[in-house]
């Protein structure tokens, strides 16, 4: 199909168009839902067919306006971008469903859907951008939209959390812009391909510029991706947002910044950067910190959403760990964890949102016996938790297995042990919740499972956890080729 070459821009354009149209029809809920879900579905179909095309015919490079690089803007969809786009479109579509039919937590669904669509469009643009300037623009759109979908809840805590996120995120954006400017200064290009070829000549002449730029971009992306110790904004922001926002933020938003950072390393800076600078060691050290600190903080939380938010800090560590170990299987594990964590953390956040809405209970200490009153929701929560721990048969097991095997490939046994310890820590805070919910003393809180339409996205995500756990080979072509972009 020749028209599929337009898929990259059409994905972004359709989501943007829907974002602009929803406030106009904000008074008719059914129409708003139709436009919202329709845009998500179209983006998913386009993303899926684009991925198939990229797998069959290789990297898709789209010159916007027909102008070739380096003068024009080029959208570059390689296998990593296609994979990321597919993960985003799939998980976003399921969360869209929950936002449309789940419990209402915001006053104006029209404005809320606009922000969600803008955020999704920006994330799609970010993973496919072929030049640094467009990357930056999409980063800004997604940052602001992400902040707004927290603040839209309107409670005191959510406004405070989103303001803190705004300040730190703006700091990160400043670092990114400065870093991009420094790279532009020594290469004269914004197109990533041209930056790489120019850097082979100019990098030796201006090592300080390059070093400063990488440092600034590292901090910028680190703050936005909540890499330990730059994660301080995350627990408040993710736990005080509306449920659908929490799922989007924890499941997808933190990861697109990792994807963007890794795309910059191999597209713009060149893989030599991993040998010249101790980036890998930095990733290893910080992700070790994230795994331990995230889990330990999660253990002492009594609010279920805060627990999940701290767990995200730890899980981001897994993805960075994969890139830090830098063996083929470790990178495959890290890349696979982008998908698996998106699925299981969205599942957990949506299930937690349903539990909180149906029972009015946020505190884990009051969860006792709730599982027997709303069994379906808690079974879904249990599936997500098992996947987090890495029980065989679930998606989380596969990515952890690949990471552990990758650690052995890289002759770093210590990190295989670290993954084991981290899994035990996960078990230590997830299993008590489940045990008390199903076998604890009956509480007097009245709660039932919600209607099917609310539970459907939760059920689909739970199904995906098992699907990717039992048939991981379906993602192998994408993940393996992505790893080969780094390890040649």
């Amino acid at each position: 199909m020749p028209s599929l070459i337009h898929a990259p821009v059409l994905i972004v354009a359709v989501l943007l168009l829907a974002a602009f149209v929803t406030p106009l029809i904000g008074k008719r809920p059914a129409t708003v839902n139709a436009v919202f879900l329709g845009a998500g579905l179209v983006a998913f179909v386009l993303s899926l067919s684009m991925t198939v095309r990229v797998l069959a015919q290789g990297t898709l490079s789209y010159p916007v306006g027909g102008w070739p690089a380096p003068y024009g803007i080029v959208v570059l969809v390689d296998v990593f971008a296609a994979y990321s786009s597919l993960v985003l479109a799939t998980v976003a579509l399921i969360i869209f469903w929950f936002a449309a039919f789940g419990p209402r937590e915001v006053r104006h669904n029209g404005a809320y859907f606009t922000l969600i669509l803008l955020l999704t469009a920006a994330m799609q643009g970010m993973v496919m951008a072929g030049d640094l300037f467009n990357l930056f623009v999409f980063i800004e759109i997604s940052s602001l939209a992400a902040i707004a979908i927290i603040a839209i809840k309107g409670t005191k805590e959510s406004v405070e959390a989103s303001f803190r996120y705004l300040v730190l995120s703006a700091l990160g954006s400043g670092g990114l812009l400065f870093g991009i400017a420094l790279i532009f200064m020594i290469t004269g290009h914004l197109n990533m391909d041209y930056i790489r070829t120019t850097l082979t000549v100019t990098a030796e002449q201006y090592p300080l510029n390059l070093l400063t730029s990488i440092g600034l971009m590292g901090v910028g992306f680190g703050v936005k991706a909540a890499l330990f110790p730059m994660h301080v904004w995350l627990p408040d922001a993710h736990s005080n947002a509306p449920t659908a926002s929490s799922a989007l933020l924890s499941g997808l938003v933190v990861k697109v910044y990792i994807i963007a950072l890794m795309r910059i390393t191999y597209l713009a800076l060149g893989l030599e950067i991993f040998e010249l600078l101790p980036i890998r060691h930095l990733f290893l050290a910080l992700s070790t910190g994230a795994l331990i600190v995230g889990s330990v903080f999660a253990m002492v939380q009594d609010n279920v959403k805060r627990l999940l938010a701290f767990s995200t800090v730890a899980q981001v560590g897994y993805i960075f760990l994969g890139f830090g170990l830098f063996s083929q299987r470790a990178i495959e594990g890290g890349v696979l964890h982008i998908l698996n964590h998106a699925v299981m953390k969205s599942l957990l956040f949506l299930a937690a949102g349903v539990i909180i809405h149906q029972s009015g209970i946020k505190r884990l200490s009051q969860f006792s016996g709730l599982g027997r009153k709303m069994p379906l929701t808690f079974v879904a929560f249990t599936i997500g938790a098992m996947s987090m721990v890495g029980v065989p048969g679930t998606a989380g097991f596969i990515s952890k297995l690949y990471l552990a095997l990758g650690a052995l490939d890289a002759d770093m046994l210590i990190f295989a042990i670290l993954i084991l310890i981290s899994s035990l820590l996960n078990a230590a805070y997830y299993f008590p919740i489940i045990i008390s919910a199903f076998f604890g003393k009956e509480s007097d809180a009245g709660a039932t499972d919600p209607a099917f339409v609310v539970l459907a996205p939760v059920a689909v995500l739970a199904g995906m956890v098992f699907f990717f756990g039992l048939f991981p080979s379906i993602m192998v072509p994408l993940v393996r080729q992505t790893a080969l972009l780094f390890v040649r």
């Binding site: 028209s3 337009h6 821009v9 059409l10 354009a13 943007l16 168009l17 602009f20 149209v21 406030p23 106009l24 789209y62 010159p63 916007v64 306006g65 027909g66 006053r107 309107g154």
Partner: protein, 146 residues
């Protein structure tokens, strides 16, 4: 409140500001200016209008829907102009070969660029005025009456 001086000044200055804004907008591809600067000037004229007539007559008030339409219409024009390129079998936002380019140096000389500039102008004007409205009414929307 009815202010004679303000109203008389407004009667002269508002059309003048809007004309100047339109000039900046339509010459965006020929001289310094364009969608953002022209749109801001036109948006400022809306704010001026609102300040002058807001309290004197209810029918003069610009409604929220109006600025919303400006904002959204502008964005739709931009995306729509981009999609025309795809319909013509070219790339997204293609100008040459899809839109008539016109004669160099004249207002109609840049094909799609003028259209896109007008879209940006409408969007920026709408946004500037919308920000003013939101600041003016400061959270009144949350209580459900505006």
């Amino acid at each position: 409140m009815h202010d004679m001086i303000l109203e008389m000044l407004g009667r002269v200055l508002i059309p003048a500001t809007q004309l100047f804004g339109a000039y900046i907008l339509f010459h965006g591809h020929l001289s310094p200016g364009g969608g953002f600067s022209g749109g801001t000037i036109i948006g400022a004229s809306f704010i001026f209008y609102s300040l002058v007539y807001r309290f004197s007559a209810k029918k003069h008030r610009l409604r929220h829907e109006t600025s919303l339409w400006f904002e959204i219409g502008g964005a739709l024009i931009y995306v729509g102009a981009g999609l025309v390129g795809i319909l013509f079998g070219r790339h997204f936002l293609t100008n040459q070969g899809v839109f008539p380019i016109g004669e160099p140096g004249r207002i109609w000389s840049s094909g799609m660029i003028l259209l896109v500039t007008l879209g940006i102008g409408a969007k920026v004007a709408g946004t500037v005025f919308k920000l003013f409205q939101e600041l003016l009414e400061g959270g009144a929307e949350q209580d459900g009456h505006h």
